[in-house]
Symmetry: C2
Subunit: 151 residues, 2 copies
């Protein structure tokens, strides 16, 4: 069994299985308690555009793990809502650069605000020690995401 032969690391009982289950449960909780104004892919795409600037449809599709046609459809929808714009890439006439509008930036900020508020309440109720461990693990969570994306 993989669960019992590949320990996560320093934790006495923590195994990949435990981490997956914990993430699973917490993710489901987050998903349920966050107002669903838009899909996970939509908000992740807006966040990406906000943090890293304009990107091509193909790049966004790959980053979010959806197909090109799906991303085209999403971008069209976001464009219709005024959250992003499309413009031609001057360097390549085939490519479309997707860029966040001011309304898009506001939407990202508001969503972050709402999530932070919702979760800050729960996080505040954690024992100090656990809260610190959680904060310390955030970079590892991001790194793991990158690793899994790259493979």
């Amino acid at each position: 069994m993989v669960e019992s032969t590949i320990p996560v690391g320093g934790g006495p009982n923590a195994e990949p299985h435990d981490l997956v289950e914990a993430l699973y449960a917490l993710y489901a909780q987050v998903h349920r308690q966050t107002p669903r104004e838009m899909s996970l892919t939509a908000s992740a795409t807006l966040t990406r555009l906000n943090d890293f600037g304009p990107a091509r449809v193909t790049a966004l599709a790959e980053l979010q793990g959806v197909t090109q046609p799906s991303m085209t459809s999403l971008v069209s929808s976001l464009e219709g809502s005024g959250l992003v714009t499309r413009r031609r890439d001057p360097a390549d006439g085939r490519a479309a650069l997707v860029e966040l509008t001011e309304a898009g930036r506001i939407a990202v900020s508001r969503r972050r605000h709402a999530q932070a508020e919702r979760f800050a309440a729960g996080i505040a109720r954690l024992p100090d020690e656990e809260r610190e461990r959680l904060a310390a693990a955030v970079p590892a969570l991001r790194l793991l995401d990158e690793i899994l994306r790259g493979e």
Copy 2:
């Protein structure tokens, strides 16, 4: 801005929104990279039935954050696949008790195994220090889930 006024805790830059986004991104990634024999709700429902035994449609719907008709539809589909059975609750003629079959238990076990395997490969590539921090945060993730559930 909430992001700058409500720190998670000991981390220098970690904020609630960082944690939420890291969780979202990471779980979405894991979910995408796990063979999609079934939906998130479906596997969560099977896992629940596996770990806690038979349950009513209403209870399952609430736990997964979907409507009763959606859960009815899912249960019918799982029943068609032979993963669960429906039976009448002897104590209440209106209620249907949903129960995992042997095939269902095998499916849960196999999915857990596949996720752990996929995840373990990524975890193994983390620097030792980050891997240890991740393992140390597992109890906090669980605790946070409980807190958010209870609120």
